[in-house]
């Protein structure tokens, strides 16, 4: 086990984390996995702590995963969704969050459509923040659970080749994964329509390959990104059908890939677009393992952040 101690108040992204801190989260998650297999799936660790889940954007997996992680650690939870709150009356995000903080909440889990929103709030407020996705910037717990799953399936992250396919430009999942995977010594390849590859992405230490077959032929992991219909107001590619014809992972495409390649997807999946149904439900897919692992990873983050809070409370 690592000798690193967690000292950060917040987890807003993987950009600033060290390799040791990432390893500490992944090791802690490994130990916490077992809690969910017990007859009593709950430990008293965060008794008396309160976590607010503030989702300004829709979410199924992440919100449920965080809420369950909080409950498995015995924290009290409150849920906020923008649609049913005073946000619709025009209250600013900072005021909303300060009101929540006044209720002596310890940790805020936040998803927000504006990139950098949790970062700015975390700097100004004492409450701990966990970024559950900010705009197109970062989604650190998703990248951590992806890395956890790769480590589980491949035994290591060092030297593992991970290919991301799809909308890299709008993907906070890809961005967090790039920060994390490159720090952990994995090789990252991105592939997709030219319009959806961010300019100068190579400077982050990744390789850009436009041809799908070239991009996947020696990949250990293929991580598919969702085509985000809600962020496609401009025309980044001619049609969904053309995208599927060029970039879909299906049985035929997989013939060029390694036999033991694993297919990942952060969800929600557009079945028949990023991936064919048979591959998604087939033996190479670890999509549901990602969901299971997400719970342990989020428990680990909540556990570690609660330790750092003790300093603030003195």
């Amino acid at each position: 086990m690592t000798k690193t101690a967690w000292t950060r108040k917040d987890l807003v992204g993987l950009k600033d984390l060290s390799r040791e801190e990432i390893t500490l989260i992944l090791d802690t998650a490994k130990s916490l996995q077992e809690v969910s297999t017990r007859p009593v799936k709950k430990v008293p660790t965060l008794r008396g702590r309160t976590v607010a889940n503030m989702f300004f954007e829709p979410s199924t997996r992440t919100r449920i995963s965080f809420e369950l992680a909080e409950k498995r650690l015995s924290a009290d939870t409150i849920n906020f969704s923008a649609a049913t709150s005073s946000t619709v009356k025009g209250e600013s995000i900072k005021d909303t969050v300060r009101n929540i903080e006044s209720l002596k909440v310890d940790i805020i889990v936040m998803r927000h459509p504006a990139s950098g929103a949790p970062h700015r709030l975390a700097e100004r407020l004492d409450v701990s923040f966990i970024n559950a996705g900010d705009g197109i910037n970062e989604h650190p717990t998703q990248a951590l659970l992806d890395m956890f799953t790769i480590k589980e399936k491949k035994g290591t992250l060092e030297g593992v080749k991970v290919t991301f396919i799809g909308d890299i430009l709008h993907s906070r999942v890809a961005r967090s994964n790039i920060w994390g995977l490159t720090k952990m010594g994995a090789k990252v390849v991105v592939c997709g329509p030219k319009t959806l590859i961010p300019p100068k992405v190579e400077e982050l230490g990744v390789e850009v390959i436009y041809d799908l077959y070239d991009a996947i032929k020696d990949a250990d992991v293929i991580n598919l990104l969702r085509i985000q219909m809600e962020r496609q107001s401009e025309c980044f590619f001619p049609s969904i059908r053309e995208y599927a014809n060029t970039y879909q992972i299906n049985r035929k495409v997989l013939e060029v890939a390694k036999k033991d390649v694993v297919i990942m997807h952060p969800g929600p999946v557009n079945r028949g677009i990023e991936v064919s149904s048979d591959v998604m439900d087939g033996p190479s897919s670890v999509i549901l393992d990602q969901v299971t692992n997400g719970l342990a990873v989020r428990m680990a983050v909540l556990y570690l952040l609660s330790g750092a809070r003790k300093k603030i409370e003195g």
Partner: protein, 182 residues
């Protein structure tokens, strides 16, 4: 730091042999017995009890390893969160006669955590406690069923159990100065 050895390798081995016999005598054999060792020292000792009991009785009883961090009552007081190690209890504890194993019994708080954790895995028939060292200073009403050696200590002293599983020679040593036992 001044230190004093209070148990040698041979004495530790003899204590383990004696306790293994006592466990079998008190429970009239190995039926339904299972060992749960508290990480890290207790886990190694539990493994040794398992081997010794197999030697005596010819049956290998089940062995679980427990990390008590998630149950600690001082998580809000100490600094950064302690590392969580893996708990591995791959058998049903319900109806089992559980022998809980730790290296040093001190305040009793670790044992309280361990009992709470075990009960989250099921309802054992009973839990008994085996420790290599009982150093006194209990803060909870907890008593060991099997003790390798009672050592009167002051609260300022630190009792360290070195085991060959950790790459050290088997020994129990008392240090003067700040205690690290919990």
């Amino acid at each position: 730091m001044p230190q004093k050895q209070i148990m040698s390798s041979e004495e530790i081995t003899r204590a383990i042999t004696r306790i293994a016999h006592e466990i079998l005598e008190k429970n009239k054999g190995a039926k339904a017995l299972a060992l749960i060792g508290i990480r890290t020292g207790g886990a190694f000792l539990a493994k040794r009890f398992q081997e010794k009991i197999k030697e005596i009785e010819g049956t290998e009883i089940e062995l679980g390893l427990l990390d008590i961090t998630l149950y600690r009552d001082d998580l809000t007081e100490i600094g950064a969160q302690p590392d969580i190690r893996e708990t591995e209890i791959d058998f049903g504890v319900s109806g089992k006669k559980i022998i809980l194993v730790d290296d040093v019994l001190f305040t009793g708080r670790t044992i309280r955590c361990a009992m709470d954790a075990i009960i989250d895995f099921g309802r054992p028939e009973f839990i008994q406690l085996a420790v290599l060292i009982d150093r006194g200073h209990r803060e909870l009403p907890i008593k060991a069923d099997y003790v390798g050696k009672n050592i009167p200590t002051s609260k300022q002293e630190d009792v360290v159990v070195n085991l060959k599983e950790c790459g050290e020679e088997d020994s129990v040593v008392v240090f003067e100065g700040e205690t690290k036992n919990d």
